[in-house]
Structure formats: C-alpha cells, structure tokens
C-alpha cells in the first residue's frame, strides 16, 4: 500500500483524467451494454417498488420476491426441458418453450408472493417493513433449502436467453452506434424492461389507472369518498408489481446466468429500492438511477476484462479488485445520502387504509 502515494505523485493528474476519458470512449460499447444489462434487475425491482408505493404500500420484500422467482423460473424451465428433451431454440433470443414456461412460472410465483405481501400489509395491516422483511428472510431460507434438495437431481437446465445481437455495422455507427448497441444488445427480458419503463411512465401520468394510483398513495380517504375502492386498487397494484420483480428474478437465472444460485440477488432488490427513491418514484427516474448504479459495475467489469494500459493501468493495478466489487454499493450509498430528504415519498406511503367504521 505504501507505493500508492509515490505512484500518484509521479503522474500529472490531468493526464490521468484524459487517459480515463480515452479509455471510456474506446470501450464505450462493452461498458454501456454491460451497464444496461446489469441495470435490468435493479430497474425491475425499482419499478415494482414504484407501482406499490405510488398506491401507498411500502414493499421492501423486492429482494425476496426476486430470489423466489429466480429459483422458480429456473427450476420450472429445467423441469420442462428435462421432460421435452433437447429442442432447437427459436431463432430469436435463443428462446425455447422451456425458458418461456420458466418465465411464466416466475411471474406467477412473483404475483403469489406479492399477494401475500398485499394481504399482510393491506388486510392484516401489519407493519409493512416487517412484512417485507419476513418475505426477504423467508425467501433466502426457502430457496436455499429447496436448491440443496434439487441440486442432487442432476438437472441439465434449460440454458439461457441470448441477446438480440447487433450487426457490427450498426454498433460502429459514429455517435449513436454505442447507444443502439447498448439498447438492442439485450436479451428479451432486458428489452421488455425498457419498453415497460416507457409504458409505465405514460400510464402512471396519463391514464385513469395512473391517476387513481397516485391519488391512493397520497390521500386514500379522498379516493374512497369519490367512490373508488382503495383496498382493491392497492391489492391490484401490489399483485401486478409482483410480475415486475419476477421478471428481475427470471433475468438473473435465465438471461444473465444459466442457473439458480443461493442468494443470487445479492442486494439488487435493495439497490432497486434506492433507485426508486433517487428516481423520485417515477418509472423513468427509477430506470435512470438504476443505470447510474449499474454503470459502476459496467466500468469495473471492463477494467477487469481489458485493463487500460499506460499510467492509468498502473494506477488501477494498485486498486484491489474488492474495491470494484464494492463500488456499486458505495455509489448507491453516496447518491442516496445526497438525495434522501429531497426526494418526497407519496404522503400515505406505508399507511394501511382503514375504512370509517364499516359494519
């Protein structure tokens, strides 16, 4: 460690900055594509959170829902693949019936777990933080246990979705090539996420559902008095949001990886919550924040795979690899600390709604 100050002293800082910019521009394609990919589960978790919290239900069980769905999706697809035998994938995304059924199973599982959360927080009116924590702890335990049970079955698995792929000519178009590459060089779940962000944003601010959802998260009693069933609206939103977190889980075990691993969500659900807050509870904002958090991973992966040369490489060689692993979390904490207090949650977020003396 004592070498670092010496090395820094020997290098003009300005030169280093230029070298870093040069390195970023040179590697913008892999860095941006990785960033978008890595942001997918964070963004989906954040979108799930937005859908819940805009209607007034806090959901910190995102991590657990994703983990369960990662397991269910992977296991269902493996079972189907085992039953059907090897099949030629569709030309697009390397999709097979097994993988598609896996995603479907994950969505169903996500909605069911969300239904549990909805019941706990809307009907049973238990503290929503505790409800979410129960789901997180339960999910880690149950999936870990089930995984050890099924890992003895020598499942071959159903493989994974593949990215759409972008022709070299498109990816190298000056100025916009990297952007097209980053957006299009994604698997089906990644592309769907981008589409969901846009649709969700429009729906939330322009549709009847969006208006009612936002009103229910701010002043549920006002919503009730104009004849809308707040309880039903919240149930519907929380259950629907489960499908979003489910896609995030399915991405982990079927698009990013090829199989389930114990605790593979690795905090992405919580980073998703941070993205939701930084993004001020709007879908586009949450996606932007997810990209910001993911960019740390994109950069660190790039540095690991193709380390920069010259002085910059020298400096980076002093930085332990653990630092790069920790970077996304550090960035999350720093940004969150700067934003919290200025980002305002829906007014009735986390408060169970009680009808006036119904009976």
């Amino acid at each position: 460690m004592s070498g670092i100050p010496g090395a820094l002293d020997a290098i003009p800082l300005i030169g280093l900055v230029f070298q870093l910019m040069g390195y970023l521009i040179e590697n913008i394609n892999p860095i941006s594509a990785t960033t978008v990919a890595v942001s997918v589960p964070i963004a989906l978790a954040a979108l799930c959170g937005v859908m819940c919290e805009r209607s007034g239900v806090v959901n910190i069980g995102l991590e657990g829902i994703m983990l369960i769905c990662a397991f269910v999706g992977w296991y269902a697809s493996a079972l189907v693949a085992g039953a059907l035998g090897p099949e030629a994938p569709f030309p697009l995304f390397g999709a097979t019936p097994a993988l598609l059924i896996g995603v479907l199973a994950a969505i169903v599982a996500g909605m069911l777990v969300s239904l549990l959360h909805a019941w706990l927080s809307i009907s049973a009116r238990i503290d929503q933080i505790i409800g979410g924590t129960i789901i997180n702890i339960g999910a880690a335990g149950i999936t870990g246990y089930l995984y050890t049970l099924v890992s003895g079955q020598s499942l071959t698995g159903a493989g994974q979705f593949t990215p759409l792929g972008v022709p070299q000519e498109v990816a190298t178009v000056p100025l916009v090539g990297w952007l097209l590459n980053a957006v299009l060089n994604q698997g089906p779940i990644g592309l769907t996420t981008i589409i969901i962000v846009i649709i969700f944003q429009i729906m939330l601010f322009r549709s009847r559902w969006g208006l009612r959802t936002r009103a229910a998260g701010e002043h549920p009693r006002a919503v009730e008095t104009v004849g809308i069933d707040v309880i039903r609206l919240r149930y519907r939103n929380v259950v629907m949001s489960g499908a979003l977190a489910a896609l995030g889980g399915a991405w982990l075990s079927m698009e990013y990886g090829t199989q389930f691993q114990a605790n593979m969500t690795n905090g992405r659900g919580f980073i998703g919550l941070a993205a939701m807050i930084v993004g001020r509870w709007s879908p586009v904002g949450a996606f932007g924040a997810a990209l910001l958090f993911a960019s740390a991973t994109g950069l660190s992966l790039s540095i690991t795979i193709s380390p920069p040369s010259g002085d910059l490489g020298n400096v980076f060689s002093y930085i332990p690899s653990e630092f790069w692993d920790a970077l996304p979390y550090i960035i999350t904490i720093v940004i969150l600390a700067g934003v919290v207090g200025r980002s305002i949650a829906p007014a009735a977020d986390g408060q169970p709604y009680e009808r006036e003396s119904a009976s």
Binding site: M203, R206, S207, R208, W209, L211, R212, R214, A215, E218, H219, R221, A222, V223, E224, T225, V226, G227, I228, D229, A347, R355, E356, S357, A358, S359
Partner: protein
Amino acid sequence: MTQDGPGVPALEMRGMTKRYPGVVANDHIDLDVCPGEIHALLGENGAGKTTLMNVLYGLARPDEGQILLDGKPVQIASPADAIARGISMVHQHFMLVPVLSVADNVILGAETMANPIFLDRKQARRKIADLAGRFGFELDPEAKVASLSVGQQQRVEILKALYREARILVLDEPTAVLTPQETDEIFGLLRRLAADGRSIVFISHKLYEVLEIADRITVIRRGKVIGERRPAETTEEELAELMVGRAVELTADRGESHVGRPMLQIEGLRVADARHREIIPGLSLEVRAGEIVGVAGVAGNGQDELVESIVGMRTPQGGKVTLDGRDVTGLSPRKMNMAEVAYVPGDRHRFGLILAFPVYDNLVLTGYYSPPYSRSFLRDDQAIKSSAERQVEKFDIRTPSINVPAATLSGGNQQKVIVAREFDRPLKLLVLDQPTRGLDVGSIEFIHRQIIAKRDAGAAVLLVSAELDEVMEMSDRIAVMYRGRIVAEMDGRTADKSEVGLYMATGGREAAEATA
C-alpha cells in the same frame, strides 16, 4: 328559495339510527330536503351531524331507518352508490390530493376518458372552466391544489360535486376555516346552486350562519332531533338553547384587563421549515402581563411555526424571544415549562397527550421528573395519583377514573386534562394553539373561563386560533398574521370582524388600497 307546497322532497331520511359501542350516534333522526332548499343541520360537535351524513353518503351503514330519494326508497352502501344517485359531499377536512392539479382532483373517480385507458384532460379542463364560469368563480384547472387558499380549495370541492351533476349537496362545516369574506362568497355560491334547483344540506354549529343561509333549520342534540325552525321565526338565543339543552352565554365575558409589564417580547423572529423555506421572515410581537393577545390568520400562515418557536419545539433561525426580561430564545420545551410557560398544542392527540397512558400519567407529563412526583430515580405513584384526583375534581374532568387511558375520554375532557396539567401552577405566559377546537359548548365555556382567570391573575396569554370568532371573543388585542408576519394589530373590543377578515385574506394590501 323555499318551495313550500306539496312537492316531493328530493331527499328524505326516516328514523335513521346508528349505534356505536356504548353510544347512540343517531337516534331515529328524520330529515327532509326539498329541491332548491338550503336545509341547515345545527348541532354541537359530537351531536351526530357528521355520522348522519356519513350514513347518507354510504361511508357508514345505518342500524335502522330508510333513505328516500324523490319519494323512492334506496339503499346506499358505498360512496359510489351515493354519487351515482346524485349525492355529493363536501367534507369538513377537504378530500383533495394536494400534489395533484385542480382538474385531476375534480375528475378523480369520474374521469373524462379519451379512450378506455387514457384521460381526456383537455375536455375535462373545458368542462371545469364552463362549470366554474356558470356559477361565477374562477379557478385555474392546472394549478396544484397545494398552492390554493383554503377558500379556493373549498370551491374545488364544490366543483367536484357539480362535475358529478350532484342534485343533493351536503356541506359539513364548510365555513370552519374560511375568512368572513370567503364565507360570504361561499354563501352566494350556495344560493345560486339552490336557485338552480339543487338541494343543499348545510351542517354547522355556528348560529348566525345558519340563520343567514338556511331556509329551514333542524337542530339535533345527542343524536336526536330536538326541533325544526325557520330563520324568520327564531333567534340565536333560542337555537343555542335547543342545541345545548340549556341557556348559554353566547359570548364569553372577558371583562376588563389590567395590563402590566411586557411579559413576552418577540423581536425579528425568523423561522424556516425542514426544506429551508422561510416561513416566518422576521416577526415582532409583544404580549404584556394581564392581557390576551389573539393571533388571527388563515391556517398555514406560520402560526404553528410561531407557537412552536416560542415553546421550544422548533429552533428559530434568528431573532430574539424574551420572557419577563430574560432571553429564552431556543430554550428546550422543558426549560420553557420550568420558566412558567403553559402550552396547549393545536393537535392534542399528537402533542398534548399520550393517548394510551392513563389519565394520571398524562397529568404529570411535564412534571414527573421532579418532587413531589419523583424521589431520586423513582416515581412517587402515591403523590401522582392524589394530585391527579385533585385536578380531576378541580377541572371538572369527566372520567370514570384516573386509571383509564386518555384515549377513552371525550375530546372536551381530553382537552381539560391538558388544561389541568398546564394551568394548575403559577404562570407567566400561556401559549394556546386552538385551545377549543372541536369541543362542545360546555367545555369551551369552561376553558375560556380558565384562560380569563389566568389572565386576571397576571399571566400573559397568546391565543392562536383559525376560528376568528374565538379570537374576536377572547382577545384584549388582536394581531393578524399573514405569510409569517403580523400585518395588523387592533383593539380586541372595537375591532371590526370584516376588517380583520380582510387582513387575514390579503395581508392588508387591499385594505391599504381602499384607504389610499
């Protein structure tokens, strides 16, 4: 607009009964409203007015009774039912979403759609502008509700009803937070609505208001209809007696004040909120021993911040607060309490009481840590309870025992617990934030008498209230607060109510123009 004669009432409620555990909120109430009629429902806080309207609006289910619309019996199980049948309600606490626009608030639940999914905001805006124009008021449909004055918010609530083509409009204490001028405007609007053939139920406990606006007045007390009167055939005195059940003094007799030395001096006080917006940009005020200074103002003009800065719940950014010649700026609430300052907070449930604690604990919340209530580290329950018994007696707190949780007491008795705790000792200053909000007439009289007694004993009293009537009745001097400043001060005995109202609404800008 009264339409006598054989017409079928637009709304008729027969034998409405609603029981809650331990109390009959509505006991066989009959009420009818004709088309084009303004029918006032007069009663004290807690008499059962709001319950009756919640039953009508489908928010509560009646145990007995029948509702008829145009002579036909109907079942109303939810607000959606009520709205579908042309009943709309303007709630006492506005049912508006502050962060949404006027238009979004109006259409919520009855959205104008461009297609099955998306809203047609353009058409909604046009419809809102049309309606507002037709009934003679202006509202920007794009404005956020949070940026509107309470008077404007009330109009949004009425627009909501008109947008749903309500034929029967229920207004629950609509004037509680308005200035006199805003009240006049609302009354004009209600008359136009009645002339348009709509039926209006006007809920209030203010006698002069129901006499002014109503075609017919039904008085209820403790859940029962006590009588029905026409304004021309009755007087405030008679209505008051019907409402309370005994003859009442309509105005507190504040008596003569004997003003002494300056007790509370506030100089250049500056207070910012959590988001660093300056709510009070430099306020100066003096309250002397033996006088009641009433602070009038529309809610949200910095009254909460002022009170909290004086009693130590909020740290001012600048300025100086002096109590009897001693600088007390920024002292903690306990230090202020020890400096002989009493504080009655505006929200008794959040700040004044610990609802789950028994009455005797609530009575020593400010003094439990010192003798005689504690010795070394231990509480002296004996001393606490015997003092509690004495205060319950002295302050007429109606409670089954000192051991029941404060939550089980009525609002008036909860407030008396606070008053007993704060008043039952020598005092230099009383800081009172809406001390009688939501209380029955008996409790109000009692608390007002206690305040006057403290003043006569030489204490300075700062009385903050959004109820202009209370400020007018109690104050020796009136200070009007507008956007964090005192914009006018006048003698409490000679002040003109509409002049005070004008200062409340405009900060004196128009008042200055009028004299210029």
